[in-house]
């Protein structure tokens, strides 16, 4: 169970505002973050 625990850190490449850049969760410390997984691009909901 992950609720109440420290969020596992990760980094990965992301597409954002026309660019490809590296994103790390730890860069978001101090902010609320919604981390949203989904099954795939071009899925329907």
């Amino acid at each position: 169970m992950l609720v109440t625990k420290q969020a596992p850190n990760f980094s990965g490449m992301a597409f954002h505002e026309g660019k490809i850049k590296k994103v790390s969760l730890e860069d978001y410390r101090g902010k609320w973050v919604v981390l949203c997984f989904y099954p795939g691009d071009f899925t329907f909901v």
Partner: protein
């Protein structure tokens, strides 16, 4: 998620979306479909999780299907996970419920008050104390439909 983004931004919340697609697929999906659906480019980073490493860390990677299922995690400014919701692929999430939960957690962190079942912004909260224990029924009744 994109539709509810303005509201989240007002609440000082950042969004990261994650799937096992490549960043190039994210680019094309944004250009060819998503931006047309909502009228603007995706305002948040769309992270590529090829191989499912990130999904595995959050226990939402389906090894057989090779995809991350619909897991949503609310992480506070200290990096603590305050809420999660995991749905199988066919059903989408409700951004209003997400916003409600964020408001409730932010209210709690500011005031120490707790939000009873069904709480919405402006609704009654409770202040935990020894006197309140066993007496919640005097202070709060379940909402009637």
């Amino acid at each position: 998620m994109a539709v509810g983004y303005g509201k989240l931004k007002e609440m000082n919340v950042e969004v990261l979306s994650v799937s096992t697609d490549s960043v190039y697929s994210h680019k094309i999906w944004n250009e060819s479909e998503l931006s047309k659906m909502v009228g603007f480019d995706m305002p948040f980073p769309m992270v590529s999780d090829q191989g499912g490493k990130i999904g595995t860390l959050y226990d939402v990677y389906d090894v057989d299907a090779g995809i991350d299922i619909r897991g949503r995690f609310l992480i506070d400014p200290e990096g603590i996970i305050q809420a999660q919701e995991v749905l199988s692929p066919p059903v989408g999430r409700n951004p209003d419920e997400l916003a409600r939960q964020i408001k409730a957690f932010q209210h709690h962190q500011k005031t120490g008050e707790v939000m009873p079942s069904g709480w919405v912004e402006g609704g009654q909260t409770l202040k935990p104390s020894p006197d309140l224990a066993g007496n919640v029924w005097k202070e709060w009744k379940p909402p009637t439909k």
